[in-house]
Amino acid sequence: MRVVIAEDTVLLREGLAGLLEDAGHTVLAGVGDAESLLAVVAEHEPELAIVDVRMPPTYEDEGMRAAVEIRRLHPRTGVLVLSQHVEGRFAVELVGSEGGFGYLLKDRVLDVGEFLDAAERVSRGGSALDPEVVKQLLSPSRDDDALGELTPREREVLALVAEGRTNASIAKELWLTEKTVETHVRSILGKLDLPQDGATHRRVLAVVTYLRASVA
């Protein structure tokens, strides 16, 4: 996997690059602001860009804007946005609107396996939504009859689906067989009245869109 990293803290940028390289990926460039990011993406057309939300000069949402820009100009480059805290709807909307986009809290990096998993998923056009965001989407304060019909196990599966996981990954996480996961997923999609579709990333989009819509 060919990667560029945009992160203004040099120490973290080097750390991330090291982790990726240790895992056998190629880090083409590491930059510290959005402008340089767009330049190196245009230059290398990488499979993945890892982008910090807050960067110079204003430390507001430069990274998020750059992410949208990259998705528009370079549809083949997946973007994984990293944030210090849950940034909100913007991320959910981006993850829900198309593939090739991921949104994670920075400390997910510490769980190296899952981080690399998510990174690879996004680089292949899949999705990754931080569990914290998913938790908020599934918050108990929601008044949703369809969600209420789900069993606790189905809710667990739904959360992992929303995160962008594949059936295999879900099965591993929950100590289930892939077959059982598949059954759960079919049941969930049925209860939420969503189309049964084989492709993982389309399934994620449907689920996230559903959750997003019922929040708004």
Partner: protein, 663 residues
């Protein structure tokens, strides 16, 4: 003795000359006025004394007033023939009598040139006046050398100047006619001068000038009529002097004196009114008190008998007690009669004060009321704020400097300290009695209004600074949140990543360390989680996305269903922050004390304000206690100039309603 009082005494002296001249007529040796029919005597005395009295009235108030002195001295010249006759013999008196007739016209036209301010219209008019003076003085001087004998009843008296070379000279006759025409011309020009002034003047000055303009236009007409009647009389062999020329001249004098008098008394010229007013008040007061004293002493004397000291003591006491209320009463009556403006002005202010007392009007309206009472719409009142050393207008706005224009400024003081400054039309300086009366009546209202304006400004300043402090607090929270996320948290993540890389790079045989590193990384991760919690408590980052987003996050992290309704449009960041923390506090409070099953948070933007309500279906009975969360909430709302209300019947849930202005 000051120059002013010396001039005043001189004025009284000048005023006495004329009666003295008249008195001399009573001497057997003097009979200058013998020709005067008896029926003309009263109007004659009135006509001569009228300008003198008006002049004296003005001179008393303004001893340097030019018009006053013209009126005081003008009539004397004509009357001087009497003392001359007494001192030098009848011949000289008669000679003077027939020579000084131009002076009958001189003083009225002199006034027409300088009325009402005592100055000429412009410096160019000096030439005109110079020519007038030359023709008048020349005429009188030339006539003094008249050598012809007297005629009529006085034919027997020899002319003391018979056969003098000047009177007999060839040029005397034509020169007298030239000078006569010069006089006539200057009379016309004088009448024109005052009309010109009338046309250029406005307001009070116009009213003052109007009467004199009419009187002055009679002056040249009188001279022409005089000539015509003389010629006609000569042709017909009769004399018109008694019943045409003299009544006309006397009428002219009375008219001029009356015109000046009207200007003085009716329109406040030279501020004579106050003098007249005070004289009237004190004369009536004295008369009434003396009458009362006499009445009591005599009345009681009849019963008690003789002049008992008790009677005198009682009368004195009665008079002393009556003095003040009686004076006020008389002042009122006199004002109502002779100083309508002041009377009405003061009454207007007093009525206003009563309305203020009854709470019908605000003291700040005093500025408008004073303007009304003074009849001057240009009047403006500025309150002095000693603390900031600045002025504020009646609406409470601080002004950097008083407007600089041609208005006069009058400082209003109370207890030796400046309270306000009144800017007014300078014409009011001529009506000092009105100004003083109105301001004295309004003093308390002005002080009250000033204090209110001052307190209001101070309160506004305190409120503004409280808002600034609260807003600075929000900004500080924002900075703190940023520091936590981008500083400490970022470094912890870097540390964790380094640990992971270390773990992956452990050499063979050192794998035993791996679980320990896992544990360290877990520790780092949970510390990051803690930091995130703290940062969110300091200020939720979601507020950057707007109130609606932040409130939804709040609802999602709540342990019970929370219904949220919030506007998507953005308002000022400080207002959003305030609304968020208010909702937060109210929600925490509800969960902690109300045990509700659900909560509804609503934020609505309406009429330039953000309304936030947090309602639960819990146990109710919430009260705002000092130091409690609700009290803090109320303070926060107050800092934004908003309102706070809580409805919490026992068993009926709690509803907190807040309104924050956001424009």
């Amino acid at each position: 003795m000051s120059g002013m009082s010396r001039l005043r005494i001189a004025a009284w002296g000048a005023a006495c000359v004329l009666p003295a001249c008249f008195a001399m007529e009573l001497l057997p040796s003097v009979n200058t006025l013998d020709w005067l029919p008896l029926w003309l005597l009263p109007p004659f005395v009135v006509a001569f004394m009228a300008p003198v009295l008006v002049g004296l009235l003005i001179a008393n108030r303004q001893p340097r007033n030019v018009i006053a002195w013209i009126m005081l001295l003008g009539p004397i010249g004509v009357a001087l023939s009497t003392p001359v006759a007494w001192a030098f013999g009848e011949g000289w008196g008669l000679q003077m009598d027939r020579a000084t007739w131009p002076l009958l016209y001189a003083w009225p036209i002199a006034i027409a040139f300088v009325f009402p301010n005592g100055r000429l219209l412009s410096s160019r008019w000096r030439w005109v006046v110079g020519l007038a003076v030359v023709s008048f003085v020349g005429s009188v001087t030339l006539a003094m050398f008249e050598s012809s004998p007297f005629y009529g009843e006085d034919a027997a008296v020899p002319n003391p100047l018979a056969d003098n070379s000047v009177g007999e000279a060839q040029y005397a006759e034509p020169l007298s006619w030239v000078l006569w025409l010069g006089m006539l011309a200057s009379l016309f020009v004088g009448a024109y001068a005052i009309r010109l002034r009338l046309r250029r003047s406005t307001g009070v000055e116009r009213l003052q000038t109007m009467w004199l303009a009419w009187a002055a236009s009679l002056v040249p007409v009188a001279l022409v009529l005089c000539l015509l009647s003389g010629l006609l009389g000569y042709a017909l062999g009769v004399t018109f002097v008694d019943w045409v020329v003299f009544p006309m001249l006397l009428g002219l004098w009375i008219a001029t004196a009356a015109a000046v008098g009207i200007a003085v008394t009716r329109h406040g010229l030279f501020a004579i009114e106050a003098l007249v007013n005070r004289t009237l008040v004190y004369v009536s007061l004295t008369a009434l008190l003396v009458a009362a004293y006499a009445g009591i002493t005599i009345g009681l004397g009849v019963f008690v008998g003789g002049d008992s000291p008790w009677v005198i003591a009682f009368a004195t006491l009665a008079v002393a007690v009556a003095f003040r209320p009686l004076r006020a009463r008389i002042q009122d009556v006199v004002d109502r009669r002779y100083n309508r403006a002041r009377y009405e002005g003061v009454r207007l202010v007093r009525d206003f004060e009563d309305e203020v007392r009854d709470g019908l009007r605000a003291p700040e309206e005093v500025g408008a009321v004073v303007a009304d009472a003074l009849g001057d719409p240009l009047t403006e009142l500025y309150f002095w704020l000693p603390e900031t050393e600045a002025f504020a207008d009646v609406s409470g706005d601080v002004v950097a400097d008083l407007p600089r224009d041609d208005r006069a400024g009058r400082e209003i003081r109370r207890d030796d300290a400046r309270t306000a400054v009144l800017l007014h039309d300078p014409i009011l300086l001529e009506r000092r009695d009105l100004l003083d009366g109105v301001l004295a009546a309004a003093a308390l209202s002005i002080e009250m209004a000033r204090l209110r304006v001052e307190v209001r400004l101070q309160l506004a300043e305190v409120e503004a600074s409280r808002t600034r402090i609260v807003e600075a607090g929000y900004e500080e929270r924002r900075r703190l949140e940023r520091d936590l996320h981008d500083g400490a948290q970022q470094r912890l993540v870097s540390l964790g990543v380094q640990l992971r890389r270390l773990q992956l790079a452990l050499p063979r045989g050192a794998e035993v360390l791996s679980p320990a590193i896992d544990q360290a990384v877990d520790e780092v991760a949970s510390t990051i989680g803690d930091l995130r919690q703290i940062a969110a408590g300091v200020r939720p980052a979601r507020l950057d996305d707007g109130l609606a987003a932040a409130l939804r996050d709040l609802a999602q992290s709540a342990p019970l269903p929370v219904e949220v309704e919030a506007p998507r449009e953005r308002v000022a960041a400080s207002v959003e922050a305030a609304a968020y923390f208010i909702a937060c506090e109210a929600l925490t409070n509800a969960v902690k004390h109300g045990s509700p099953s659900k909560v509804a948070v609503r934020a609505v933007r309406e009429n330039g304000a953000l309304y936030v309500s947090v309602a639960d279906d819990g146990v109710g009975g919430a009260v705002v206690r000092r130091g409690s969360g609700l009290a803090g909430l109320r303070d926060r709302v107050a800092a934004h100039g908003g309102t706070f209300e809580i409805v919490s019947p026992r068993g009926g849930g709690t509803r907190v309603e807040v309104e924050i202005p956001c424009e």
